[in-house]
């Protein structure tokens, strides 16, 4: 029982890191643009398919393939923002964004269903098959590599946000969208880049997701529901909150599977959100919790 529990916790932390990366993109998009990108889930699946295709059809190693999938997804994100999000009216913007990105998600899912069918696939690699023996249990290398990737990516994101001019503009826009425009920040450019970053995160997260799960075009629903839970749990707009929330939620889910039953583990994942919101209606680190009248 002890080792099982330890494995559950370690699994939770490592997987949590990867989810945190994908959720970070989502929460960043909300923080800067006030929109909720429902397509984030299916974009992860798209990233998984891209890595899969590069591997199976072009023989490219998935981690190397990231050099291709990340820029591609970034550009896709910019394209989506420019094409659909930018022209949303300011009034009811958030509500509209939900429907619009949901529609985009459906289109992406449709495209994926056309090109690939409903067969379950996964990304492969030596690190998926081989495990490292630690603390008395076996841990597939991919979990460690995936977590490392998430750490690297999130650190890069942090540096970008806090050490570059563009990053500074992004953070300013998160604080005060109109105020940022008043001081000359090109909010369109900032929005496009932010959305692109969110998409790039799905490329990286997608590769790891594809290597640790089997997936098909339908997998997007479950994913987006989890990402949304993590983002709200952490507090909409808080990247750090998303990281904490992802790890907590995943650990609780994995521990529940061991202590109670795997059947109830997923339910517990969602229940955690409900329980937290009972006490803290704005999430653990809810930013923008107080809007002026």
């Amino acid at each position: 029982m002890g080792t099982e529990l330890a494995k559950a916790v370690v699994d939770g932390v490592l997987t949590g890191g990867v989810y945190a990366l994908m959720a970070a993109g989502l929460t960043l998009i909300f923080g800067v643009m006030d929109i909720i990108n429902i397509a984030q889930g299916v974009m992860v699946v798209l990233g998984a398919y891209l890595s899969y295709t590069l591997q199976v059809h072009f023989g490219i190693e998935p981690f190397v393939g990231l050099l291709i999938t990340i820029p591609v997804m970034f550009l896709l994100g910019v394209g989506i923002e420019w094409g659909f999000i930018r022209r949303l009216e300011p009034r009811d913007r958030t509500a509209l964004s939900i429907l619009v990105t949901f529609a985009v998600a459906i289109v992406i899912e449709g495209v994926l269903t056309q090109f690939y069918n409903a067969d379950l696939r996964s990304v492969d690699g030596w690190y998926v098959q081989k495990s490292v023996h630690v603390f008395g249990f076996y841990l597939p290398y991919i979990y460690l590599f995936g977590f490392a990737l998430a750490v690297v990516a999130l650190s890069a994101l942090y540096l970008f946000l806090y050490r570059t001019r563009t990053g500074h503009s992004i953070r300013a826009s998160m604080q005060n969208r109109d105020g940022a425009q008043l001081v000359g920040i090109d909010i369109d450019r900032v929005s496009a880049i932010t959305f692109g970053i969110g998409a790039a995160a799905t490329a990286a997260g997608g590769m790891v997701y594809g290597a640790t799960n089997t997936f098909n075009p339908d997998s997007g629903y479950d994913l987006i529901s989890r990402l949304l839970v993590i983002v709200v749990l952490g507090g909409l707009g808080s990247v750090g909150g998303a990281l904490v929330a992802a790890i907590i939620a995943l650990v609780i889910e994995d521990v529940t599977a061991v202590l109670w039953s795997p059947v109830w583990a997923s339910t517990m994942f969602f229940a955690v959100l409900v329980l937290v919101l009972l006490v803290r209606p704005n999430g653990l680190f809810g930013q923008k919790a107080v809007r002026a009248q």
């Binding site: 005060n176 008043l182 809007r291 009248q293």
Partner: protein, 276 residues
């Protein structure tokens, strides 16, 4: 004269900023009281605390002898406290007449027929000059018209005191005059007023007494003439004017205003609107 509204030692902090620093003042029943001060002195925060839109960290607010500190906004409203906003708020997608009707919820059922009858609503709209626009969506009204609609909506609830946040802001001199007349008429019929304003002429003409705030606390109090001559007040404004372009009341060294409008609520207001 008894105090209808009394604030004692109100404290409000926003993160590191102290918006209200033990602010105390009183409003006598039946008076028109002015609340002035440079931008950032905490006047709107004070309104928000009084009306329940913000929680006070310390201090008390008493209305007609009843403690309303941190009471829910709708409860305060139904006790007879009405208030308008610095950046005028109306229900844009509802018609002018419907805007008036929203307040019905804040009034006891027994008075619904009396206060919200077709006749009285028509009378109110006529009073503010919007009778012809009764079926027009409020969102299409001009800024001045919205101000009047906002006032009418508040008046519909038959409040005992009305807190006006910059009623003269952003409208032309003719309308300012009309606004002042309306307030005067209402005051004659027994409504008490607490008015935040930057337009000094407006304040001087209309108010029985004036309280001056600076940096979250009261620094002076008296009749308009007394306040105008008070060196502490001049100091507060002139010091503020150097930091703040929006304070364009044309305050000369002798403190006499020249009646120019007070702008659209100043940088304060833009910021706050932006954060919504």
């Amino acid at each position: 004269m008894t105090a209808l509204l009394e604030v004692r030692g109100a404290v409000k902090n926003f993160g590191g900023v102290q918006a209200l620093a033990e602010c105390s003042f009183a409003v006598e029943k039946g008076a028109v009281i002015g609340l002035i001060g440079p931008n950032g002195s905490g006047k709107t925060t004070m309104f928000n605390v009084i009306t329940g839109y913000e929680r006070a960290d310390a201090g008390t607010v008493t209305f007609d002898g009843r403690d309303i500190t941190n009471a829910p906004a709708h409860r305060i409203g139904s006790l007879g406290v009405g208030r308008t906003f610095q950046l005028t708020r109306v229900f844009g997608r509802l018609t002018v007449a419907e805007n008036l009707q929203v307040g019905r919820a804040g009034v006891p059922r027994a008075r619904h027929q009396e206060l919200y009858s077709d006749a009285r609503c028509a009378e109110l709209l006529g009073f503010v000059g919007l009778a012809r626009l009764a079926d027009v969506p409020a969102g299409t009204l001009s800024y001045g018209q919205r101000k009047l609609l906002e006032l009418a909506t508040v008046l519909a609830q038959d409040p005992r005191i009305v807190l006006l946040d910059e009623p003269a802001g952003g409208i032309n001199p003719t309308l300012i005059g009309q606004m002042a007349e309306r307030i005067g008429e209402l005051n004659q019929s027994g409504v008490t007023f607490l008015v935040v304003e930057h337009n000094m002429e407006f304040v001087m003409d209309l108010c029985d007494a004036v309280w001056v705030m600076e940096r979250g606390a009261v620094i002076a109090h008296g009749t308009p003439e007394q306040v105008r001559a008070d060196p502490r007040v001049l100091d507060a404004y002139l010091g503020g004017a150097l930091d703040d372009d929006e304070d364009d009341d044309g305050e000369g060294a002798d403190g006499r205003g020249d009646g120019k409008g007070g702008g659209v609520g100043g940088v304060d207001g833009v910021d706050r609107e932006a954060r919504r």
